[in-house]
Structure formats: C-alpha cells, structure tokens
C-alpha cells in the first residue's frame, strides 16, 4: 500500500503534511471543546455566575467548533485531492504498464483480472485513502489525546471506559470472526446463483427441448435457499452489533454518573463541584475515546481489502516486460519473413510449442499454415509481431531480427488480423482507420478497404453507413461482420506483410473466396501469411506448412502435400470428398 504512495509528487506530500498538521489541530480543537463545555456547565451550575462568562466561554467553544470545521474542510480538500491525484497517477501508470506488457504477461494475469486491477482495485485503494487516511491519522491521535486527558481525572472512570472499549472491540471482533468467513461463502453462493441463472439463460433452448424447466428451477431453489439461509445468519449476527454498541455507550454514560455520585459523596465539599464538572466532561471525552476506537476498528476492517487491492496493483507494476524494444529503424529487404530454426516454449513451460521451424517467404508470396488445434499455428505467427519472442532461433522480417526493431517501425510493416476481431466503440470508419502507420488514411482508402474486405455489403445497409457506431465489443454486428471489418482495418494500413490468424473462420465460403480474391488483386506486392482450418482457404497458397504438435510435418503446395503429406491429406479428406478434391 505504502509503495503505491510513491506515485504522489512532492507537492502532494506537502499537502499531506499540511493535512496532518491540520488534523492534529482539529483533534486539539475537538478535545478543547469539552473543556469549554465543562466551564460552561460549571458556570451554569454555580449560582451567581455572570452571563458574560458564559457568553465568553460559549464564544470560545463556537470558535473552536468553527475552527475545527475550517480545518476539516481544508483537510478534506487536500485529502480528496490527494486521493484523486493518487488514483489518476496510479491508473495512468498501470495503464501504461499494461500497454507495455507482452502477451505472455497479459496471459499470466488474464485480461479480465488486469481490467479489474485498473478499475476496481484502484477505486478501492482510492476510497481507502479518501476515507481511511484521515481516520488513520485522526483516530489514534484522538484516542491517545482523549485518554491522556481523562486519565488523571479518576481511575474508576478510566477503568470503566477501558472496560467499555474492550466490550465493544471484542463484540465487533467476535461478530466479524463469525461473519467474515461466511461472507466469502455468500460471495460464492451469489456466484452460484449467477451461474445457475446464466446456465438457464444460455441453455434456454436445450432446457425447453428437454422439458427440463422444473429440473432447473429445483436446482436454482436449492442454491437460492442456501444463499438466503446464509445471508440471514450473517445479518442476524450483524443485527446484534448495533444494539450492543448503543448499549455500551448509554451504559457508559450512566455508569460514569453513578460512579460520579459516589465520588462526589466521598469528597470534600470544596471538590464536589469540580468533580461534577469533571463528570460531565468525562462522559463526553469517553465518547470520543469510544468513537475513535470504533473508527480504528473500522479502518482495520477496510484496510485488508484495500491492501489486497494495492498488492494486486503492485503485482502488475512490478512485472518486468519480457519484450524489450529495439532501435533498428531500417531494413535490408522488403516484404520477407524468415524463420531460422525457431523453437518456442512458454518461459515457465517444459513442453515446446514449436520446434525447429525454418522457412522463408518473399515479397508478394502467400504462405499458409494448417494443423489441428494446439498444433502451434497461432503461436508461430505470434512470433512475427513479437507477441512472444522465439526461445531459440531467429525470426527475421525484411532481413532483420524482429528483436532488434523499434517496435513501432516493425508494426508499420505489418497488418495483423486476429481470429477474434477486436472492435472499438466508435464509428465504422474510425474502426477501419484505427492505429497509426505514419500515413494519412484517406476516405477513398477507407471505402476501398471496406469494399475489398466484403464489408461494404452490410456497411452500406447500416443506418449511417461508414459513420455508423459500432457498440463496445462489436455486439451490434455479427462475428463474420467483425472479421471483415478487422480485415478492412489491416488493408487500410497498407502493410508490407499481412498476417491472418484464422481470420476467415466466421465467413461463409463464398465471402471467404471473394475476399481473398479481391485482396490478392489489390495487394500484389504484399506478403500474406494465413493460418486457417479450412482447406479451401489455403489451397492456392504459394507455400503451405503443415504443423503437428509444434513440428513442421509438411511443406509445399496443395498438390504436392496431397501426395506426400499424410496428415494434410487426412485433413483435406475430412472436409472435402475425394472427388471434390480431384475437381478442385
């Protein structure tokens, strides 16, 4: 937690320091007030006191209260500023860090966890700073100060207050001890309720087809009832807290008075009035003590949560990026990709995902990779845009090892299209022109790209055509439409090298065909790298590489492979009949 505070600047620390002083001042003022209160009490109590004295003391007390308010306002201003600055800075830092992380680290954390860390966790820590920071400073100071003020009054009262504090804290402690583990259970049960509901919603067709509505309802009711029972237990336990808290406070005041009676009774006449004043003051101080202990207890309740969040943030911030930027911004060749004895495994894995892969593709050529799931196709092409680095061997683009390139320079050569097309919540046009390749993307280029990618067919039907909005995650268009826009984006980039990572999977054969056909016409100069499942998609590539368990088990054209590669033939036959293959 405190490590994160480094993201604050010097001036913020200065504000923090001022806040600290102001809080101390505020505590002093708050504790000064009971003095005036007792003064006023004595004055009112004593016959013959002058109104002027009461007014003066009342004025002082109001002054204290107002000064305390001013302190609180200024502190509040600083602290809310600090917490907002803090969350802004940490969020920025974290965001930049995540942008720098390589795919490997992102996978380690998982995207959704990174999102939670950048959003929820930061908010969590910010909340703690906004609320907790003041309390954290204020509570102990108030507690100690108030205790020291009342300690010399009478040990009986002090002992009584101590007992009250102990009862309160132990009640809170015991309840938390009982309830906290069950909170986790509740969380799990809520997840379960969610899961069963989601199950019911996503499987609604299956459920109806099986007439299994009742089965689902029974399943749900079981979880629902367990959840309700656990919730009731928890809340019942919590229901004890409030009455006990009030009881302790009320009884404390009452017993302070009762003890006061005995103290007054056994004292000299001259001390009686003083003891009476003390009694009134003590009851208000003891409330301060109790409140500050409660405040401390609350901090310790929210601190662990904030701490967990802080640790999760730090985990990301401390992560070293495994992909280091190079500095080469020139290349020897154009449009070539070469693998030299490339092997790859995840850094902490034992199994190699790719073994000893070598090939070269030249400008204007098309190379395709095929193989079953887990054969390493995607891992292979992920090495080109450096989502991962090769464990052994070299990956060369335009004759230069990709590790040596300045990443921006390398990326400007590449048009990468993933299987799951990424859509941004923006217009179609902006989705297509997304990113920066150092060139201006004209309107003509955009419509050309949309046309080639076969996206025109549906974009023209959209309400505002190219200006139509794509919802977040592209939920308002279909998977195939997303893929086509993703491809249009790559085209608009005018890259030297196209990389299609199974990016035609959601297209029907006809669209698939048309797209590739048009693309070929448009980009004669560009090198194309395709990963696919369908034989039809890759049949006419200049070179096809068949992968099996990370090894290259065949390389050549469609015709060559049909003859010499058993696996290739097997795959082909599973999709097309012998006769169809002949016809092709």
């Amino acid at each position: 937690m405190f490590k994160l505070l480094k993201s604050l600047k010097k001036e913020d620390y200065f504000y923090l320091f001022i806040s600290f002083i102001l809080i101390v001042l505020q505590v002093w003022l708050d504790l000064k007030m009971p003095d005036y209160m007792s003064e006023i009490t004595t004055l009112v109590q004593t016959e013959g006191s002058k109104m002027k004295d009461i007014l003066i003391n009342g004025g002082y007390m109001l002054l204290c209260a107002f000064a305390s308010l001013v302190c609180a306002v200024i502190t509040g201003y600083f602290v809310s500023n600090i917490s907002a600055v803090f969350s802004r800075n940490v969020r920025k830092k974290l965001f930049n860090k995540v942008l720098d992380l390589s795919t490997k680290e992102v996978k380690e954390f998982s995207t959704s966890s990174l999102i939670t860390r950048t959003t929820n966790d930061i908010t969590q820590v910010q909340m703690f700073i906004a609320m907790g920071l003041q309390m954290l400073i204020k509570a102990p100071i108030t507690a100690i100060w108030a205790v020291s003020k009342i300690l010399n009054k009478s040990w009986e009262w002090s002992a009584l207050t101590a007992v009250a504090v102990i009862i309160l804290l132990s009640t809170v402690g015991i309840i938390l001890l009982i309830v906290l583990p069950r909170f986790k259970i509740v969380q799990k049960l809520i997840d379960k309720v969610n899961n069963v509901t989601r199950e019911n919603l996503t499987g609604i067709r299956v459920i109806r087809a099986f007439n299994a509505e009742e089965y689902q309802v029974n399943k749900f009711e079981k979880v629902n009832d367990t959840l309700t029972k656990t919730q009731i237990f928890n809340q019942k336990a919590f229901a004890v807290m409030q009455p006990i808290m009030y009881l302790v406070m009320y009884f404390l005041t009452l017993f302070i008075y009762i003890i006061g009676i005995y103290l007054i009774k056994n004292s000299l006449m001259a001390d009686k009035i003083n003891i009476f004043g003390d009694m009134i003051v003590f009851s208000s101080y003891s409330m301060q003590v109790i409140m500050s202990f409660l405040m401390l207890a609350m901090i310790f309740m929210i601190l662990p949560r904030a701490n967990v969040s802080a640790n999760r943030i730090n985990e990301v911030l401390d992560k070293e990026t495994s992909i280091k930027n190079g500095d080469v911004i020139s290349s020897k060749e154009v449009g070539t990709v070469e693998f030299k004895k490339v092997s790859f495994r995840y850094p902490d894995a034992e199994e190699y995902l790719l073994r000893d892969i070598s090939f070269k593709v030249n400008k204007g050529e098309t190379i395709a990779f095929i193989g079953s799931t887990g054969s390493g196709k995607s891992s292979l092409i992920n090495l080109i845009p450096r989502f991962y680095d090769a464990t052994e061997g070299e990956v060369l683009v335009d004759g230069v090892n990709v590790k040596n390139y300045d990443l921006n320079y390398l990326y400007n050569k590449i048009g990468y299209v993933p299987q799951k097309a990424v859509m941004f919540n923006d217009t179609v046009e902006n989705n297509v022109t997304y990113g920066d390749n150092g060139k201006v993307k004209t309107k003509e280029l955009v419509s050309k790209a949309i046309e080639i990618s076969q996206a025109k067919e549906f974009v023209s039907k959209m309400e505002r055509q190219e200006k139509s909005l794509i919802a977040q995650g592209g939920t308002n268009i279909s998977g195939g439409q997303k893929q086509r826009l993703g491809i249009a984006r790559a085209i608009a980039r005018e890259p030297e090298i196209y990389i299609f990572d199974d990016s035609f999977s959601a297209l029907d054969y006809k669209t698939d065909y048309n797209l590739r056909h048009e693309l070929k016409k448009y980009t004669k100069e560009a090198t194309t790298i395709i990963v696919a499942q369908r034989i039809g998609t890759i049949m006419n590539a200049d070179k096809i590489i068949v992968l099996d368990k990370g090894k290259c088990v065949g390389m050549g054209t469609h015709k060559e492979l049909l003859k010499k590669c058993k696996l290739y033939k097997q795959i082909a036959l599973s999709q097309l009949s012998e006769e169809e293959l002949e016809n092709a």
């Binding site: 069963v196 007439n211 309802v217 229901a239 006990i244 990113g435 029907d508």
Partner: protein, 765 residues
C-alpha cells in the same frame, strides 16, 4: 468478469414502483408492521431517556448543595440560645456579679487600682441600677482591674467560668461572633440534627468559622465547611436522594435494555422479511424465465436478466432491510424529539431547532451539489472503464497497429475527467461529517447559552440543559438519516422497477385448453410443412413465406446457407419456440398448433452448436433431467459416441466435474451433448452442426457420432460443410432469412442457383 452496466439510479416512476413494492410485500405485512412498530417503540424509548437522564443529573447536582434544612436548624438553635431575651436571663447568672460590701471595700482599698479607676467605679455605682437593662452592658466599660474583682471565677451549669471569659462574654460582638469553648458550653446546649449531635464547643467552632466568611464565592464557603467539626460537616453535608436516583437508574437501564431489545428484534424481523422476499423474488424470476417466449431472450441480453436476478433483487432486499426501518424510526425520532423539546421548554426548543436548521440548509446545499458530481463521476468512471476494457481486450491489435498513442490520449482525457469529478465529489461528500459535527456543536452552544440565561432567571433547571444537549444530538441525526434513506429508496424503486418489469413480461400463450397428446412411443416421424409463414416481431416482411415441404420418417433434411441466414429460425419453428403466423406444421397428421409445447419438445432430440454443459459431473450432464437412468445406459451411449475411453482416463471417471477451464476440449464437449441427446429416444432429431470451433480430426469423431444419432430418425441438420449433406433427402437453402431454394443435391446443382454457387465456392480461390 461481467461488467456492471451503468444503471440509472432513478426510477422512472418512483411512486408506482414503491406502491408495487408494497403490494408485493403483502404476504409479509404482519411482520413488517410488527417490525415497524418496534422501530417506533425503540425511537420513543430513546426519546424518553434524555429527560430521565436530565433528572438524574438534577439529582446529582442537588447533591452538591449543602443541607439547608440542617443549616437553618443549627443556626436557629444557636441564635435562640444567644438571643437578647435568653441572654438577659442567663447573663446575670453566668456573670454572677459580686457587688457586696466586701468587694466594694476591696476595690476601694486595693493599691493595685488607680484612683482614676476607683473614680470610674464610684460613678458606675452611683449611676447604675442593678436592675436596669443598661446595667450589664455598662459593666464592660469598667476597667479590667475592677472587673477582676466583681466578676470572680464562678460556676454556671457546672462549667467553671473565669473572669477573662466573663469579660469576653460582655464584649461579644453580634456582628462578628467569636466565643470560646467554655462560654459556648455555658451558653449553648447540644443540638440534635438528625442522628448527629453537635456539642456546644463544636457549635462554637461553627460560629467562629461562619463569622469569618466574608465572600460570596461558594467554593470558599464550601472550603470553610470542610474545616468545620465533623458533626457539623455531617449535618451540613449534601444529601443525595439515593432512592430517587436508584429509581431513575433502574428506569434508564430498563429503557436502554428494552430499546436495544426492540432494535434487535426489529432488525431480525426485517432481515428475515427482506431475505425471504429476495428469495421469493429470485424464484419468481427463475420461474418466469422458463415461462417467457424465446423471443424475449433473443431481444434481451443475458447480462441484463442476470443483473436483475442478482444485483437488482439484492438492492431491493438490502435497502429495504436498512432504509425502511431506518426511515420509520428516524421520522419517529425526529417528530418525537421536536415534541419532547417543545414539551420540555419551548424557548430552548426553538433555539435548538433553528440552530440545527441553519446548518441543515447549508448541508442540503452541499448535498445537492455533490449529487451532481457523483453522477458525473459515475458516468466518467464508466466511460474510462469501458475504454480500459476495450484496450486491454484488444491489446494485441492496439500494439500491432501502433494504437498506443491514441489509446493513451483518450485515456488521459478520460482519466483527467474522472480525476476532476472524483476530486469534487469526494470533497463535497467529505464535508458532510464536519458540517454535521459543527451543527451539533453549534446547537450545543446555543442551547447552553440560552439555557444558562434561563437557568439564571430560574426558569429552568440545569437538567433541562443536559436534556437539550441530547435532544440536539437526537434531532440532527435523523434528518441526515432520512435524507440517506430517501436516496436509498430511490435506488430501491429503480431496482424494483426493473425486477417487476421483468416479472410483468408477457408469457408464452396459455395452453390449458390443449388436450391432444401425441405419444412419443407411438409417433412415426412424419412431418409436413404447409404454407408456413413466419414474421419476427417488429419485422415488416415475413422471414419465412409460403414454405411447404414433406418429410417421411427416417429422412434427412438439411438446412444450409451463409452465417446469419436465419437457419436457427427453422429450429425455433420446429420446436415451437416461436409460433408460426400462417400455415401449419403437421406431425404424424396432427397440427402442432393442437399440441402442447412440452409434447412437441418430447418428440425431438436436439443437439445444438453451442455446447451447453453445466457445472456438474459428466454423469449429471448426460443424464440431465431424466430420472431412473442406470449408469450402464450412460456408459452405453458414451461408447457409441466414442467418449468412453476419454472418460475412463479422467481421475473420477463418470463422476468427474466439468467446469469451464477443464481439460474437456471443445470436441469432447460436443460429444457429451450428443451423448445427452442419444439418451432420448425421440422420433425427430435436430442437429445444429458445430464445426467451426473443432479441429478437423475431432470433427470426424463428432461426425461419426452424429451419423449414428440420425439412424432411424427424421432428422434436421444445419450444416456449414456441404459435403456431409449431399446425401440429404431434402436440402433447404436459406439466405437473408428466407428459404430461397429447396430440393436434393442433384436438383439444386442442376438449377445452378445459389446452392451451386455456394457449393462451388469452396473449391475456388
């Protein structure tokens, strides 16, 4: 992690939503009424306590005052012993004046007495008459040497009184009494005050110290009292009304205990009610889900329904649990405090209320302003989070397209906005507590000053001030509680609205008057489509128009077409998930309009593209809702689909759990759903082929299993891959939601239409 949608926290119609909520709570009304009554009782009790507490303080402060009665008793007794009348009688006796011949002679002849003194004495003898009043007072003017002789030591009441003391007695100053023990013994009697006996000498001490007080400062007086003899001190010592105190303390303790008990029972009741209510709402929603037509789910997102069942129900339950009772007890407290204040003292009440109101006006101003920033903050935070989510989930693309810079720019922009809204909303909301404190203190001082003024005038007692100190506190807290409860009720109304909106959705058509039953075991498997027309809600043109076709049992009907062509529409109609608008679908001579949905479902086995498995064991997933299926039967179907081997390699075999992340591949999941379908022995089969997510070799396995499943059944197959459906008896070609061609492979190829184009495209480049 599902992202919580940013929701509108204000209900569209607060009143109707709340009314509906209360209507729904009907069955809990007795509990709620009891709970609320208890809340009111608790509040009433906590209003009662300050008054009693102030009584207690009054009693204690009474214990600070010296015992006036005893003081009067003592002074009266002393005064009566020393009054002029008494002294007139007692003085001569005490003085025992010796003015006989011998004494006069002694004086006249004494050499120790000067002539001058003798002259004074002579004058005295001549002028005074032993019986006159002035006689004794004139004695003190005589020289000491003479008095020594005429006032010899004598005894009075058994007390030996010396000449000096007699002189002293003569010189007693009424204004400043100071008497010796001996004299006191002679003059005063024992005084009985209660159980205390005050001897004359103690009385003398009392008189002596009282007479030396010349200040009005009570502390000084009290300090003097401390120095008085014990018996006097005891008599004057302030007395606590222990009986009264005890009564108040017991009363207070019972009030506190009772109010704690009430609060406890009330919160238990509310907890029970709110959780039971939430439970009921949840099961109503789940039941509703199963009664809604499928079109609802095609229109609404899973996440939305999900958030209604969890977030919204939770919100309703929680805020009901907290705010309802809080609101009632806060209002009671508020009104009650006002009443009590006015009852106690109206001037003080006006003071306390106006002092608090001043502060509250300030507070509401701050509150309304901060509300604005909170909404802003929520909005910007939502936008920022959406941006983060977008960038993170597309990180590879962002990088490969050099989009970091634009992502950063957008991020900074949003981050700055969040920062500003954060700063302001946090600051303003942070002001609440200090302002509340100030209001409390301000009220306190106001009450004290006005109270002191009134106390001095004697209008009120000190206890009233103490009571008002508490009233100020009691008065300020419910106001903010009411404010909080109101906002929380707003949220409840909004959430409740969403829940009830869902519960009020139109359900599937009633089928109570359908009596026909087509027995699964007797069904043959013939199906006929007669001029079927179907239009999706809101669409103008029908999706399926004038569609007629016939299939005999055991035949294979394939549905092909590009993605999004509406192939699932056919499934929806077959299964009566949607009802056709015109025409008819006839199964074994019976119109599906005359059959219950459940009946139709039982005639079909359906295996869908999305492999729907749930958290549970493999066995549970295969058997699903069917009862009395022996494990052997499960093993049998698994063997048929070729899963047996895989399942045996799992550590727990058929009892292994299936969860998302497990080693069950997409293909195996598909096989599991096929096995599930196989258990069902229905005459019809629908296969929504899943191929795009399965690798080719698994695909072969799946295909084999599917082929086995189609044996002897009338089957509908949705296919992407055209090679597998070439031998289908009927191929329906769909495009843009319409069936544009139908026939077998040969016929369609001969037609050279869309199907032929589609078929040929897979071999081209």
């Amino acid at each position: 992690m599902p992202r919580k949608p940013i929701r509108n926290e204000k209900a569209k119609n607060f009143k109707s939503s709340m009314l509906r909520l209360f209507k729904e709570l009907e069955s809990f009304k007795y509990f709620i009424v009891i709970g609320l009554i208890l809340a009111v009782c608790g509040s009433v009790l906590s209003i009662m306590s300050p008054n009693r507490l102030s009584d207690l303080v009054n009693k204690i402060s009474d214990g600070l005052k010296i015992n006036q009665d005893n003081l009067e008793l003592i002074t009266e007794s002393i005064e009566s012993s020393m009054s002029e009348d008494t002294l007139k009688e007692t003085m001569p006796l005490i003085l025992n004046i010796n003015l006989n011949e011998t004494a006069i002679n002694n004086i006249m002849t004494s050499s120790n007495i000067t002539n001058e003194e003798k002259n004074i004495f002579n004058n005295f003898l001549k002028n005074s008459d032993a019986n006159s009043e002035e006689f004794i007072s004139s004695l003190k003017d005589l020289p000491v040497s003479i008095l020594n002789i005429i006032l010899p030591t004598s005894t009075y009441n058994g007390v030996l009184i010396s000449t000096e003391e007699k002189i002293e007695l003569l010189n007693i100053d009424k204004e400043n009494i100071h008497i010796s023990d001996t004299l006191a013994n002679a003059l005063l009697k024992d005084i009985k005050v209660g159980k205390y006996n005050i001897t004359p000498s103690e009385q003398a001490e009392f008189i002596n110290s009282i007479s030396s007080i010349n200040s009005e400062n009570p502390t000084e007086i009290y300090a003097k009292i401390d120095k008085m003899p014990k018996s006097v001190r005891n008599a004057l010592e302030p007395v606590f009304d222990m009986k009264g105190i005890k009564r108040i303390v017991i009363f207070l303790i019972s009030i506190y205990l009772l109010s704690a008990l009430f609060t406890y029972i009330e919160s238990i009741i509310m907890t029970l009610v709110s959780n039971k209510f939430a439970n009921k709402l949840r099961s109503r929603i789940i039941n509703k889900i199963n009664k809604l037509p499928l079109k609802y789910f095609d229109k609404n997102q899973t996440g939305d329904t999900l958030s209604r069942i969890t977030n919204d129900v939770d919100t309703v339950a929680q805020s009901m649990n907290q705010s309802l009772a809080t609101l009632v007890s806060a209002i009671t407290l508020f009104v009650g405090t006002i009443i009590m204040m006015f009852k106690t003292n109206y001037i003080m009440a006006i003071t306390a209320i106006s002092a608090s109101l001043l502060g509250f006006m300030l507070m509401f101003k701050v509150l309304s302003k901060s509300q604005k920033y909170f909404i802003e903050r929520q909005k910007y935070l939502g936008e920022l989070n959406a941006h983060i989510e977008e960038i993170y989930s597309g990180l590879n693309v962002v990088k490969a397209y050099n989009g970091q810079e634009s992502a950063n720019k957008e991020f900074d922009n949003l981050n700055e906005r969040v920062y500003n809204a954060n700063r302001k909303s946090q600051f303003l909301s942070g002001l609440m507590m200090p302002i509340m404190n100030f209001i409390g203190n301000f009220g306190y001082v106001a009450v004290c000053i006005v109270g002191a003024l009134l106390t001095m005038k004697g209008n009120i007692t000190f206890g009233v001030i103490v009571a008002f100190m508490t009233y100020v506190r009691l008065f300020t807290s419910p106001l903010s509680q009411i404010g909080q409860a109101m906002t929380s009720l707003q949220t409840t109304a909004a959430a409740g609205e969403r829940v009830f909106e869902f519960l009020d959705e139109e359900e599937m058509s009633n089928q109570d008057n359908i009596t026909k039953v087509l027995d699964k075991s007797k069904a043959k498997g013939n199906i006929e489509f007669v001029n079927v027309e179907f239009t999706y809600d809101g669409n103008k043109t029908p999706t399926i128009k004038n569609f007629s076709a016939k299939a005999k049992n055991g035949q294979k009907i394939a549905i092909v077409g590009p993605t999004g062509a509406g192939k699932t529409t056919m499934v929806n109609l077959l299964m009566k998930f949607y009802e056709i608008n015109k025409g008819d679908i006839i199964i074994d001579g019976v119109s599906t309009r005359e059959l219950k949905r459940e009946n139709i479902h039982s005639l079909f086995t359906m295996v869908l593209q999305d492999t729907w498995l749930f958290d549970g064991t493999i066995k549970e997933n295969i058997i699903y809702n069917r009862e009395n299926i022996p494990i052997e039967k499960v093993k049998e179907v698994c063997e048929i689909v070729g899963l047996d081997h895989f399942i045996k390699t799992l550590p727990k075999g058929y009892d292994s759990k299936i969860s998302e992340s497990d080693s069950v591949s997409a293909g195996q999941r598909q096989l599991l759903t096929i096995a599930r379908g196989m258990l069902e022995d229905a005459p019809f089969l629908i296969l929504d082929e899943a191929t795009s997510n399965v690798d080719t070799r698994t695909e072969e396995l799946v295909q084999e299993a599917m082929d086995k499943l189609t044996e002897g059944r009338t089957s509908f197959i949705i296919a992407h891959r055209l090679s597998t459906i070439k031998n289908a008896d009927l191929i329906l070609v769909m495009k843009d939601g319409n069936i544009i061609e139908q026939g077998n492979h040969k016929e369609l190829m001969a037609k050279n239409g869309f199907y032929a184009e589609l078929y040929n495209s897979q071999f081209e480049l």
